[in-house]
């Protein structure tokens, strides 16, 4: 449409040849990317004709630091246009928006850099320009407070932004990730959550080992088994995926086998087609059936891959320890399983997830226990990890218990975070997403809708940061007159990241018949425990230059 010849991914070295006049770099403002671009530009063949023109577009904003960098490398002048593309919130699904800024949590809590909050506020302003002013804002946490303040100020500074769009959202709920540090540390047990935990979903795509997806057709032989990882897109456009993504993994198998029966029955129908009309009808359904069949085949393969892992002994041991911690068992002493894992040099991130989980579930570890873990980790994985441990401590994930009080049991009981009788097949509570543990963040959202936060004042005070409520005046003409039985719509914004399991829990609440509230989710980044901890770790490889 716009006559774009080719799209390239950014990598160092010479730019691939293309017979074009203009080259546009579309980048996040990060210094390491600037180095790649510099390399690209410097290696450009000066003698070629026509000479190519370079442009650079920063997403979501231009950064003077980056431009300064480019200038120091002597290439700033090569760019004819330097602009910004203010893409704050990127839609990921019908009910999910993400800023995809993976360092947001680290910046806010470790570096006191709240630029990402500024972007979040801007994104919310844009959202309000499109979908109407949100009359009620609730929030919990320091960052939430900042964002709400910025929104209110932005509104005041641009009186013209008062728009006349009928509001789509009734409520905005801003939640700091550090209000609920526990949830991302636990292993997600929904289908989508497990895919993310094991293979990592990136921008709705997942890469899977190819063996299970080998074509089963005759004649193609075993000689060219695919070696490239299989890449699949995962979103609600795929009917089957939409149905199973948010289920507990233990409930996925039965759905898949039911689907298989339905599809084969549908294919069988062709034998009953007698008249030309019936045959025609059958043929017209074929494409849909084919799609359903291939989708079923894919997900059966994925489920098999995951099953191999979830049935392994180590997965089970790990989960047992997690569940013990979350239900409050033995959180105050050195855990044998963690020690064993360190001795066997399991991946460091796994260790850190468990130790942090224990710390969070005990409102901090006893100094002796903490020192023991630290020492073991440093001696086994290298002293330089002291930097990472320090980051975790700063973020509140790993800390000594202060005042000798453990608040977690009170929080757990009041918010009913641990449910012993969990129904994985036909859930009646959000705790199904972690097979027993109900994500704290989502519980807060649920209690806000009914009966309101006033009932849990005490617990809210135990969680970090202020909680607050703001109202934005609407012109009288736009105030909603609610129909009987009409659902309220709440936008939940997770500042610092959200997991797939939390999303699943919110979707579950949306679908509850007597829930009365529908949820739309926005976040700075889709995370899981591993990617989250990784974002907090110091990069230990020396810089390449």
């Amino acid at each position: 449409e716009h006559e774009v010849e080719k799209m390239f991914t950014l990598k160092p070295g010479r730019l691939p040849p293309a017979d074009v006049k203009n080259i546009i770099f579309f980048v996040r403002p990060k210094l390491e990317l600037m180095d790649i671009i510099t390399d690209n530009v410097l290696r450009e063949d000066r003698g070629r004709s026509p000479q190519r023109d370079f442009h650079i577009l920063f997403v979501p904003r231009r950064s003077l630091l980056c431009e300064q960098w480019l200038k120091e490398q002597g290439v700033l002048g090569s760019f004819i246009h330097r602009e910004q593309y203010s893409l704050d919130l990127i839609p990921f699904d019908g009910d999910l928006l993400s800023m995809e800024s993976e360092s947001a949590f680290k910046e806010c809590y470790l570096e006191s850099d709240q630029t990402s909050l500024y972007h979040a506020a801007k994104g919310l302003m844009t959202l309000q320009a499109l979908y109407g002013t949100i009359p009620q804002i609730f929030g919990k946490g320091d960052c939430a407070r900042h964002v709400a303040n910025m929104m209110i100020r932005m509104k005041r500074e641009f009186p013209g932004s008062q728009n006349s769009i009928f509001p789509v959202f009734d409520t905005l709920l801003l939640l700091d990730r550090n209000v609920d540090l526990l949830t991302p540390l636990a292993t997600q047990l929904t289908y989508e959550g497990l895919i993310d935990e094991i293979y990592g979903i990136q921008n709705t795509y997942v890469k899977l080992p190819p063996e299970k997806f080998a074509p089963k057709k005759q004649g193609e032989g075993g000689k060219d088994l695919p070696t490239e990882p299989k890449k699949l897109q995962l979103n609600s456009a795929e009917e089957l995926y939409a149905e199973i993504r948010d289920k507990n993994f233990n409930a996925v198998g039965s759905v898949l086998s039911k689907k298989a029966k339905i599809i084969s029955a549908a294919f069988e129908e062709r034998h009953h087609a007698k008249t030309v009309g019936e045959i025609k009808q059958f043929v017209s359904q074929l494409p849909h059936m084919q799609a359903a069949r291939s989708s079923l085949a894919n997900h059966t393969s994925i489920a098999e891959l995951i099953k191999d892992i979830t049935t392994s002994e180590d997965f089970f041991d790990n989960l047992t320890v997690e569940q013990e911690f979350m239900s409050g068992i033995d959180t105050d002493k050195v855990n044998n399983y963690i020690e064993d894992c360190i001795a066997q040099k399991h991946p460091l991130i796994k260790i850190l997830r468990l130790v942090c989980l224990q710390s969070v579930c005990n409102s901090g570890l006893k100094q002796k226990v903490l020192d023991h873990y630290k020492r073991e980790i440093l001696q086994t994985y290298g002293y330089e990890h002291i930097l990472t441990l320090n980051n975790l401590e700063k973020a509140g994930l790993l800390k000594p218990q202060t005042g000798g009080r453990n608040n977690y049991p009170t929080i757990r009981k009041t918010l009913r975070l641990w449910m012993d009788d969990v129904n994985e097949q036909n859930p009646n509570d959000i705790s199904y997403v972690y097979s027993g543990y109900a994500p704290l963040s989502v519980r807060l959202a649920q209690l806000l809708a009914r009966p309101g936060w006033r009932s849990i004042e005490e617990v809210l005070k135990m969680l970090p940061g202020p909680h607050f409520e703001e109202r934005q005046q609407l012109p009288t003409g736009l105030q909603k007159k609610r129909q009987q039985g009409e659902n309220r719509v709440t936008l939940v914004f997770f500042l610092g990241g959200v997991t797939y399991a939390e999303i699943a829990a919110l979707r579950f609440l949306s679908q509850m018949e007597d829930g009365g509230t529908e949820y739309i989710i926005a976040t700075t980044k889709l995370i899981n425990g591993t990617t989250w901890i990784k974002s907090l770790m110091e990069k230990l490889e020396p810089a390449p230059f």
Binding site: L31, R61, R62, S63, L64, L65, E67, Q68, W69, K71, G74, G77, I80, H81, R82, E83, Q84, Y85, S86, D88, E107, E111, S112, D113, Q114, T115, L117, Y118, K122, M125, T126, H146, M150, M154, E157, F158, P159, G160, S161, E339, D340, A343, K345, D371, K374, E376, L378, Q379, T380, Y381, G382, Y383, E384, I386, L387, K394, E538, L540, P542, A543
Partner: protein, 492 residues
Amino acid sequence: MSRVRADEEEYWHSSKFRAFTFDDEDDELSQLKESKRAVNSLRDIVDDDDDDLERVSWSGEPVGSISWSIKETVSGSTGSLDGRDSSLQKGSSSYAALPKQASSYSLSSLFKGRNKLSSFQSLSDALTDTGVKSYAPELRRPKAEYKDYSSDWSPKDTVRRMQRGKVCSLERFRSLQDKLVLLDEAVAGHDGNVITAVLIFLKRTLRREILFRELEVRQVALCHLIHFLRETGEQKFLLDLLRTHCFFPLSLQLSQYREHLNIQDVEKRREFLKGCIGLPFSAEDTSHIQDHYTLLERQIIIEANDRHLEMAGQSELFRKYPRKASILNMPLVTTLFYSCFYHYTEAEGMFSSPTNLKKTFKIPDKQYVLTALAARAKLRAWGDVDALLTTKNWLGYTKKKAPIGFHRVVEILQRNNAPVQVLQEYVRLVEDVETRLNLATKYKCHDVVIETYRDLKDRIQLTAYKSKVERGSAEEEKIHSILSNMVRNAYS
């Protein structure tokens, strides 16, 4: 809307005014470059930023020229209106400042990134820019009229404008007081881009001591500055900052410690770590960093020694099991493994001996046994394994003891393909009967299984187990004799 409009006016007025004062070259220049780009952006072919005198020929360009309209189409949005304003103004009035460009402007050019007009897709920008349209013609009023407006532009407005990506001159803030207000406003705005811009301005215009002193009470700004210095690699400034302020949060000392990761040369790295020990860390961290230094020191000695040994080719051990990688910069436990592998028998006085490492770093028993066991098992030195797990009490009796539990011992040995005779000895020592049976069955230690069933007096299991052993073997014989013994005992 009127408020925004007032801002806009003030802005242009003030910049116009300033164009005739000549007192701030840096900023002037950045603005000039700014407008120039706006007008001439498509032909901005510059290879060296310092030859600005060449580039200023733009200023006479008539408004509405071809290049201007190109720019218009390229930005393709209301945003370009702003560009027009700037070109209008510059075109009419401000090239008087042009001959003054000899000064360096490397810092001011920092700001031009921000200053540049950008695309206006965000809501706020779009809103302000519709406002510009209505009064654009007024801009050409004589500049003298506006002189007195220029100072009205408050720090708050400045910050707000910068957030929107507009041109801003910070040089106007001369007094320390003003600068600090500006900084506080920027911090209150939470926009890292603006905070950094203000900090760069302060860094340039304030004496270090004053800057450091003020940042002490402004932790957020301090973090931004540190982040900025780290990103741009201004190590010296950063270290000065850290040194002059020992009372900064402890994590800042760590940020110096972090620097060792960038040092490739081991000797230099060691020296650097030595320097770190003196920094005021928490007691806990100091001991870890001290250990880190000692470890690297050891590794350097061991490495030099062993490389020599390996090259000479006289040591059988190194010939048989050539080293896969250098031991430098490896974690402590890896180093211990290495020393248990290559230097197990050395006297405690040697730096490379495992016992010496254990003492120096206070390695817990558990960790030590585990590592030594893995290393010796890998070499299939079963005698050493036995010795490692044997303790003598003061009467001279020996006893087998494993701080890690014998089931773990068995696991490690099995992983290293220990023969059944060796394995069975330790399986026998596993305390928990259930685990012992499991392990014995798994690793086919028949004797242990049989004895355990015998002790449990479990005839049924024992009979069943007969099918697992080879026919006519000693084990089958043993089962038979036990079974018949059991029967006899039952009747006697």
